[in-house]
């Protein structure tokens, strides 16, 4: 129990758990903003995995940190674009629920 923070498996498990929470939220949420929040969780799970492998298994421990920084940059760009899409959708449909965003019947 006292070696929990020095084991690779702990970090891999928390990364897998964050990824699973993200998938759970993506399926469950009925609105675009909730899905955006869940997508951020998925990206965080991937980052935790990279950092864990970087700490325990990489011969060069700068690589994982740099990849995590790039994931953060991509996440920031993604959040900005999704926010503008949400605003554009809200202007056209007056709603951000995924159920309402349909032009065709069915």
């Amino acid at each position: 129990m006292l070696t929990l923070s020095t084991q690779l498996n702990t970090y891999l498990f928390i990364g897998a758990m964050l990824f699973g929470f993200g998938i759970f939220g993506l399926v469950r949420r009925p609105s675009l903003i909730g899905m955006l929040i869940a997508a951020e969780l998925v990206l965080c799970g991937a980052s935790v995995n990279f950092m864990a492998f970087n700490r325990f298994l990489a011969p060069d421990p700068t690589v994982g940190q740099i990849i995590t920084l790039f994931i953060m940059a991509i996440a920031a760009a993604e959040a900005a674009i999704v926010m503008s899409i949400i605003i554009a959708v809200y202007r056209n449909y007056k709603s951000i629920e995924t159920e309402d965003l349909a032009d065709l019947q069915g």
Binding site: F19, G25, S31
Partner: protein, 180 residues
Amino acid sequence: MNLSISPDIVPIFREGIFFGLLIVTVLGALISTLAKRMTRAILGLVVCFIGIAGIYFFLNSHFVALMQLLIYVGAVAITICFAIMLAQPDEVKMAAKTPALAGPFAILLGGAVTWVLASTAMKATWMVPALKENEGTVKQVGESLLTTYSMVFELVSIVLLLAILGALVIARCGRDKIEC
């Protein structure tokens, strides 16, 4: 007076803090996926990000932990807050309209993904490297960011610029009655 801490206590403190961080992370993820109100979901996301920053501290990279706080808590969460304020999601109506099967299906899918990923990671045998090239300090991260990965670094800045411009272009449609 002897103020030195006995060495037996230190690992207990360390593991206690680490366990607390794990609980904070999982609680934050739970709140952000289960909360009915979007404002509470985004606060849960912030709590989860802070827990992950603490986990990065335990993984020997203080720089990435600070960047996690700066970029995720400081920028991404605030951006989502603005999206909530500008789009006014009607949470009560939304919760009533959710399909009945969405909850169980989501639990099944999320659980299956977690189980497969975690069990694969536990079963695998990982090769520990014979020697480490460096310690992964902030100085070394900065050096390889500007030498080995300088091309990717520049490309990321172009991606961010294009994201800002694209966000402006998309969000402008419908304003001032312009056609797009």
